[in-house]
């Protein structure tokens, strides 16, 4: 930890007000989401505490609002603020899980592609080309659709896995390409040749020697991709093919709220939307800062 605090990264972080602000916002969002069980003022899924008399209340500062529900309530009397916290938890969970999975797939295939080369490399790269020529949302929708067709009566956990899988399978291409590029550079360096000469097995060279040296750009990419994955998840849930309705994410909340726009209850949909933008923007800004901070040419 002391090493980290003395390091370049911490120095550049302290001197970038945007990064500090983004980090604070992101941390607040994450803490709210992770500890939603304890800090949320109400439990939006506990039917016993819901009261239809409290439904569609405006935020506290508007006429008719109550300080009991700071950001108002939805059509079933659920507290919007609490629903936001629980919703961000699901959004963050799906976002992180799918990025982790796509890093795993992408780094693995990229390493294999760059290290082994030959026809395996050519095949993986052609697959990447085809995937990249279609917008990611389309690929995610397609995989999600296939998943739904394969398991028509999927229960909640399976529905989550299908969703995470769909987002992950659209994201791995960029990691694969980046890692393949750096692996091909590293492969010919002396330390790799030295390791080979002393008879280290090639899978060991691949994972123990090459892998740690190609992970830098992956870290940056992953940070930026988290924002992308959260937005993809929200979009899929908004389209009604994302998380199961029993555990609404931010996208689901926006979808539900859209029906109440015309009766004037804008807060049901606008607050989840603002939360989504806040999370995505702060994560994105952090990613931008990390990219610049890790780029030796910009120092």
């Amino acid at each position: 930890m002391a090493l980290f605090l003395d390091g370049d990264l911490w120095f550049s972080f302290k001197h970038s007000p945007t990064a500090v602000l983004a980090a604070i916002i992101a941390t607040v969002c994450i803490v709210c989401a992770v500890f939603a069980n304890w800090i949320a003022p109400h439990n939006p899924f506990d039917l016993a505490t819901l009261d239809l008399i409290d439904s569609r209340l405006p935020p506290a500062w508007l006429e008719g609002g109550s300080t009991k529900y700071l950001l108002g309530t939805d059509d079933q009397g659920r507290d919007i603020l609490s629903a936001l916290m629980y919703g961000s938890r699901i959004s963050l969970l799906v976002g992180l899980a799918s990025v982790a999975l796509s890093v795993l797939i992408g780094v693995g295939l990229g390493l294999l592609s760059g290290f082994v080369g030959g026809s395996i490399d050519a095949f993986i790269m052609r697959v990447c080309d085809v995937m990249l020529s279609f917008p990611s949302i389309l690929v995610a929708l397609l995989i999600d659709g296939i998943g739904r067709a394969l398991f028509p009566n999927a229960h909640d956990t399976l529905a989550f896995s299908v969703l995470v899988f769909a987002i992950a399978l659209t994201g791995w291409v960029q990691y694969a390409r980046t890692v393949r590029g750096s692996t091909m550079v590293e492969r010919n360096k002396e330390y790799v040749q030295a390791a080979r000469v002393i008879g280290v097995a090639s899978w060991r060279v691949m994972f123990r020697h090459v892998l740690p040296n190609v992970l830098g750009p992956v870290l940056v990419l992953a940070t930026i991709q988290i924002a992308g994955a959260i937005i993809t998840e929200a979009t899929l849930s908004f389209l009604g093919v994302g998380v199961p309705p029993t555990s609404p994410s931010l996208g689901t909340l926006i979808r539900i709220g859209q029906d109440f726009l015309f009766s004037g209850e804008w807060w049901i949909t606008i607050f989840p939307g603002a939360m989504l933008v806040l999370i995505a923007l702060s994560v994105n800004l952090l990613g931008d800062w990390l990219r610049d901070a890790l780029n030796p040419r910009l120092r």
């Binding site: 085809v130 020529s133 279609f134 917008p135 949302i137 389309l138 929708l141 397609l142 999600d144 659709g145 296939i146 739904r148 067709a149 394969l150 028509p152 937005i231 929200a234 979009t235 908004f238 389209l239 009604g240 093919v241 926006i254 859209q258 726009l261 015309f262 004037g264 804008w266 949909t269 606008i270 939307g273 989504l276 933008v277 995505a280 923007l281 994105n284």
Partner: protein
């Protein structure tokens, strides 16, 4: 050049075959068509009979060849949910999506290019900084939120524009158009703007970056030294040279527009192909999904091909016979 075109054509065919193969596998292994048609209670003999009638007992490559043959003629069978032929559903929905995407593309180009030029020429001034900030927001806001905000503002608060459906349409043969009625245009405004925002911001940022790049070159300095007016330098010399990447990105984004229309169509309940596809995904309607997939892939491949060919028209350097110029 001929070799280049042939190579691109071969690539296009390979991509199409791959996509067709995925669609075929969907048909083959997701859901059993025999059970779908006969129900659970059919006898084994009936199932075998139907299997033979449908050609499902033929060897794999022959079935795939049949599938491709049918796909080329636009035959994807019956929609599982609506019981109508998939081709008739697509023909019905196609015009709505194309009209929406075309208007969005025109908005993105007509506003994006001048805004990009402005932001490049007035670099560092207040107006251009503001444009850049707004465009950053345009790139990072999810499409469906933009749509909801527009609905909230124009349809709910101001109540001046409709927020769902296509409005009044006119049928020209099998093509229904909303372009010929005032009501159709009023319904088109909000979805088209929603769909164009992302592309607009992208084109603007791209034109700005390219303009700044070109304005630094010697060729612009010489043009100025020869005493050519600013106007002619900016638009005749500089802008023209930024157009190659702009054409590429815009062309490729035209396909993305049709794909992103899925989201816009859901927000505005626009009766296009995107809405059809989303409903197909929700209900696991495989024939519709497969047909949409093949159609979108075809559009993407054609656009990519067209953009490649357009290079030759725009950039005379590529017409010189040079193997390295192919990329």
């Amino acid at each position: 050049m001929l070799a280049f075109i042939i190579r691109r054509l071969v690539q296009a065919v390979i991509v199409m075959l791959t996509v067709a193969f995925i669609a075929f596998m969907l048909f083959q292994y997701v859901g059993d068509p025999v059970t779908n048609l006969l129900g659970q209670d059919a006898t084994p003999e009936q199932r075998a009979q139907l299997r033979a009638d449908l050609g499902l007992d033929a060897p794999f490559p022959i079935q795939f060849a049949r599938f491709v043959g049918n796909a080329v003629r636009g035959e994807f069978g019956l929609s599982l949910r609506q019981g109508r032929t998939v081709s008739s559903l697509i023909v019905e929905r196609f015009p709505a999506t194309v009209e929406l995407a075309m208007v969005a593309a025109v908005i993105a180009l007509a506003a994006g290019i001048p805004m990009g030029v402005y932001a490049a020429l007035r670099r560092g001034r207040f107006g251009s900084q503001l444009l850049m900030m707004v465009s950053l927001l345009g790139v990072s806001l999810p499409t469906f939120l933009i749509g909801i905000l527009l609905i909230l503002f124009f349809a709910v608060v101001l109540n001046i524009l409709p927020s769902f459906g296509r409005g009044e349409t006119v049928a020209l043969g099998s093509w229904t158009t909303g372009w010929l009625t005032v009501d159709g245009w009023r319904h088109l405004v909000l979805p088209a703007i929603t769909l164009s925002v992302f592309q607009l911001a992208l084109i603007m940022r791209l034109v700005r970056a390219e303009m700044l790049e070109v304005l630094r070159t010697d060729y612009i300095k010489f043009a100025r030294a020869r005493g050519i007016t600013d106007r002619s330098v900016y638009f005749g010399h500089a802008l023209k040279n930024t157009l190659v990447p702009v054409i590429t990105i815009t062309g490729l984004q035209l396909g993305a527009l049709i794909a992103f229309a899925i989201i816009t169509e859901t927000v505005f309940q626009w009766p296009g192909m995107g809405l059809l596809f989303i409903q197909a995904v929700q209900f696991a309607d495989i024939p519709v999904m497969a047909a949409y997939l093949c159609l979108i892939a075809l559009i993407f491949v054609l656009i990519n091909l067209f953009v490649d060919l357009l290079y030759f028209a725009v950039d005379p350097r590529l017409r010189v016979e040079r193997p390295a110029a192919a990329h």
